[in-house]
């Protein structure tokens, strides 16, 4: 612990010592006050149905809905169905809970470029766009849209307040005019070229704070919201679950004799079960047994199977990747967010907090290679744990990726960092220029950074302060995007019994999804995947303190942690959702998998139970501070 404390103090000094901490704390309480004030204005009835609408904003939103309705209605009148549906198909939606920005987005899409007009009036010189406009995302762009220039239509002048007094327009002009009168307060405003899709992604996410911020105890509030999908209603299955839960309770109460008896009973019951339930029960029983028989807590905990080999871990992880879609979904969704964040930049840098076998990166490299205008120059920093046998797996992975990158002609550089904990990382390590950087020209091109963390952050919760340190490091690197994927479960709060119950539900569902129709890959993949999950089960159930690294938390809890640390959500949109859903249908074939959107994050689950959540973040504008600059 000592070295870490020193490090934090050192950091504090670098940033102005106590002053920085004080200011940060103040900023946070201000934000909290603002959040609470906003919360009280939220329409409760709509909130209960999943929509965040401020009462004070209600009339305004109603107006916008009307505008959108009319804008769409007139397209039908003009028989422009095909055009309308093309627009509808191309529109990317974000965060539907925030009706206000959702409708704004639709309006701005409908406000998009006119098609080449049938009989075009002479184009006028474009007037500069008023920066005070309500919809800042409709920015004039430099994107070359060759045939469409700004066009001013001869609309009757109207006072802004009367923008809804619409005259029926001649059909040929409707398609172009549609967006013009939708919300412009300046009747002379020119239709602008479409902002490139990329710049839209930059828009500030102005959704009201999520409802979970109204609770103080994120852990218990989320624990109560995690669902149960009950798939086994056979008599024996029920007895088995009953015995497992009773055993957990006995363990919690210290009644080790009863617990021991129950473990034996569970083993017998499990043997007569089939399928997923048998396997899950076996792992939980084993974990309970370890917990029961561990020596008195004196710093040493029995913990879990003694295969501490990193290579073994990575191998299990790779089998899990193959046998079910959860990691593929994670990689795909994170890559989508990274790709969008990287749009327009010629030098990009990904920091991967859990490099392992680099399974995520070939797909991203491929996507970058296919970028219009050619791929950027790509740098990858891979973080991995120390290898006991001193092998350089981390470098090997980099080498393989470099070879792949060469075949698809992407300029690729790699650096691997060994760290036993992410908390050992310093910003300078992640930012430091490669020694083989060439001279001045490259230094002028800005490099954008994406930090990617798949199933890594929860481990940091095992040591106090570690997560805060890492989030600070990430902030200092000023990433354009931070992608976070975590198990969608609360295995880190409440009592042991509550944790056990949550874990039993979670892993039962997980195992069930891998049984039968839900699996891909081979027999071996499945067996290894079960072992991979089994080790997690063991850690959740049998371990405590620093040993218990599988401290999963649900995405609402991560949201609280991340927003508290100065990050804001970058909502993942309907395009990523669609593609994830379609890929699932292709690769998983199983109809039980479901992608869901919640507050800007995407989750993949089995039937109605989300099991893994992917979200994207960036440093919040308010927290953007010169003291954090590189």
């Amino acid at each position: 612990m000592e070295p870490m404390k020193l490090q934090r103090e050192r950091q504090g000094n670098l940033r102005g010592g106590r002053g920085w901490y004080g200011a940060a704390a103040e900023m946070e309480s201000e934000k909290k006050k603002a959040a609470m004030a906003e919360d009280s204005d939220v329409d409760e009835l709509l909130a209960a149905l999943g929509y965040k609408v401020r009462s004070s904003n209600m009339a305004d939103i109603a107006q916008k809905l009307e505008q959108a309705e009319m804008a769409m209605g007139s397209s039908v009148v003009a028989n422009d169905d095909a055009l309308f549906f093309q627009l509808a198909a191309d529109t990317v939606h974000y965060n539907p809970s925030d009706i206000s920005t959702w409708v704004d987005n639709i309006l701005s899409e409908l406000n998009g470029p006119p098609p080449p007009p049938v009989s075009s009036p002479p184009p006028n010189a474009p007037a500069p766009l008023d920066p005070q406009k309500r919809h800042p995302e409709a920015l004039p762009s430099d994107a070359a849209q060759s045939s469409i220039t700004t066009v001013e239509l001869p609309l009757p002048t109207r006072r802004p307040a009367q923008v809804y007094d619409l005259e029926p327009l001649p059909a040929v002009n409707v398609a172009r005019a549609r967006g013009r009168f939708a919300y412009s307060s300046d009747p002379q405003m020119d239709v602008v070229d479409p902002s490139p899709r990329d710049s839209k992604r930059i828009k500030f996410c102005s959704s009201p704070p999520s409802s979970s911020s109204s609770t103080t105890d994120a852990a218990t509030s989320t624990a109560s919201n995690l669902p149960a999908v009950v798939v086994d209603t056979q008599e024996a299955g029920i007895c088995l679950v009953h015995a497992l839960l009773a055993c957990a309770e006995a363990v919690e109460q210290g009644n080790l004799q009863a617990a021991d008896a129950l473990v034996k009973q569970i083993t017998v019951l499990a043997a007569s079960q089939g399928g997923a339930m048998r396997k899950v029960a076996a792992y939980f029983a084993e974990a309970l047994a370890r917990r029961i028989y561990r020596p008195p807590p004196l710093g040493g905990v029995v913990g879990c199977p003694s295969f501490d080999s990193v290579a073994f871990d990575d191998m299990l992880h790779a089998h899990f990747y193959e046998s079910c879609p959860y990691l593929k979904f994670a990689h795909f969704t994170a890559n989508q967010a990274i790709l969008e964040a990287f749009a327009g930049f010629r030098r990009v840098h990904v920091v991967d907090f859990g490099m392992r076998q680099g399974l995520q990166w070939p797909a991203l490299l491929q996507a970058l290679a296919l970028r219009p205008g050619g791929p950027p120059s790509f740098r990858l920093t891979g973080i991995g744990p120390p290898q006991p046998d001193n092998s350089d797996a981390l470098q090997e992975v980099g080498w393989k990726l470099a070879q792949f990158a060469e075949t698809i002609r992407v300029d690729f550089r790699y650096r691997g960092f060994v760290a036993s904990s992410l908390a050992d990382l310093e910003p300078s390590m992640l930012l430091g220029k490669n020694s083989d950087d060439c001279g001045g020209a490259e230094k002028e091109e800005p490099e954008v950074v994406a930090v990617n963390s798949v199933l890594e952050l929860h481990r940091l919760l095992a040591r106090p302060g570690a997560l805060e340190k890492v989030l600070g490091t990430i902030r200092a690197v000023r990433p354009r995007i931070l992608t976070v994927v975590e198990q969608e479960a609360n295995h880190n709060g409440g009592t042991f019994h509550e944790r056990f119950t949550e874990a039993l539900r979670y892993y039962s569902t997980m195992f069930d999804s891998m049984e039968g129709g839900g699996k891909s890959g081979g027999e071996r993949d499945q067996v290894m995947s079960e072992l991979y999950l089994g080790r997690q089960i063991c850690n959740v159930v049998a371990c405590e303190g620093a040993e218990r690294r599988e401290r999963h938390e649900a995405v609402e809890q991560w949201r609280e942690r991340l927003t508290g640390a100065g990050f804001e959500s970058v909502p993942i949109g309907s395009n990523a959702f669609k593609q994830a859903s379609m890929l699932l249908a292709l690769f998983a074939g199983g109809d039980g998998y479901r992608v869901e959107e919640k507050d800007g994050s995407l989750t993949l689950g089995w039937h109605t139970r989300p099991l893994i959540a992917a979200s994207a973040w960036r440093v919040a504008a308010a927290a953007a501070d010169s003291r954090f600059a590189r």
């Binding site: 149905l49 009307e66 309705e69 009706i99 029926p168 919201n225 379609m582 109809d591």
Partner: protein, 346 residues
């Protein structure tokens, strides 16, 4: 017409509270984006936009919910809502508690089919989760919300088959039985397309000798080839258009069928005679600003003519979706009607 649209907006705005107007208009806008003119449906966008809630075995207002896989091959899931089982205060009910009868007295089981014109929504949609919880506390019932297969991917009769599967499943669950005779006291309920499904499942139940205590149809979805007076009068006025109704029927009904298909028009030229069938008593709730009302009233007439008990509750000033938000008299008074109907026919 643009001007016409504006008048409609004002009319509908005057008929419902503002937050209701925003909710239903929001759906309307979203749904317009999802229905393609060629009859296909943007399912991915629909799932993205739909606000869903997880099941929750931690009591909320004394009610818990959990999902059950009723039929694995069809991935048929249903969400069960029930009063929280009696466990130690504050503790999460364990698995086995879920399957205990909620009461030693008789209690109703309501099999609920959510609306969405056969194409939209799910049993875990937030609007329906809320409604089902309301039914539990209203009637001290166990509510089973069926996640039936939807159009246009799954046309007639898939939704009815799934409803039937749910009924059979409920009939086989011992913990759902109550009373001296230890029998299942089941009501079929639904709004919009769900009401239509409730009717057709009830017919099948009656034909198979399964006793249904009652049917509850809320703004149920029926239609026919001819344009009724209410459809013409109210077209586009209160969130709904004839055009969208037509689209949904085309999506649900078999290829080549028209709206006089018995699924759509059960008392029309192709309807099944219900005389002499042990068809349950029905509570038919009709909103006076719903353009489908003439079909709903014709449905009620059809039941009466066939000798079956119907109570029609006609809410003159109500629009579609009035039962989604507890902010009008329509909501509370209709809930009372439902409560009385269930209590009376239990």
């Amino acid at each position: 017409m643009a001007g016409g649209n504006e008048i409609n907006a004002n009319e509908s705005k005057m008929a419902v509270p503002l937050n209701t107007w925003v909710l239903i208009s929001n759906f309307k806008l979203a749904y317009n984006l999802l229905r393609r003119p060629d009859g296909t449906f943007d399912r991915h966008l629909a799932e993205f936009l739909d606000r869903k809630v997880p099941a929750n075995v931690t009591p909320v207002n004394g009610i818990i919910s959990f999902d059950v896989l009723i039929d694995r091959p069809n991935n048929l899931v249903a969400r069960i809502y029930r009063p929280a089982p009696a466990t130690a205060a504050g503790s999460i009910p364990i698995f086995t508690d879920l399957y205990q009868p909620p009461s030693s007295d008789t209690f109703p089981v309501i099999i609920f089919f959510h609306g969405g014109s056969f194409a939209h929504s799910s049993s875990n949609s937030a609007i329906y989760d809320s409604l089902c919880r309301r039914f539990v506390s209203l009637c001290d019932a166990v509510v089973i919300s069926v996640n039936y297969r939807r159009a246009p991917e799954y046309k007639y009769p898939c939704a009815y088959d799934d409803g039937w599967a749910a009924l059979k499943w409920a009939s086989a669950e011992p913990w759902l039985r109550s009373g001296k005779e230890g029998k299942l006291r089941v009501f079929l309920a639904g709004d919009s397309s769900g009401g239509n499904i409730a009717h057709h499942v009830a017919v099948r139940a009656a034909e198979s000798g399964i006793e249904i205590a009652g049917n509850i149809l809320l703004n149920s979805m029926f239609g026919g080839n001819r344009r009724t007076e209410s459809e013409q009068r109210l077209d586009g006025k209160y969130f709904v258009t004839i055009q969208d109704r037509d689209w949904y029927w085309k999506a649900f009904l078999p290829e080549g069928a028209d709206r006089d298909h018995p699924a759509c028009n059960p008392f029309g030229p192709n309807g099944v005679r219900l005389e002499g069938l042990a068809f349950p008593k029905s509570l038919v709730i009709v909103a006076g600003l719903d353009l489908v009302q003439d079909w709903q009233l014709a449905y009620a007439e059809g039941l009466k003519t066939a000798g079956h008990f119907v109570k029609v509750v006609y809410r003159e000033q109500a629009t579609i979706g009035f039962y989604l938000l507890p902010n009008t008299n329509h909501f509370y008074e209709v809930m009372e009607e439902i409560k009385e109907f269930v209590r009376f026919n239990l």
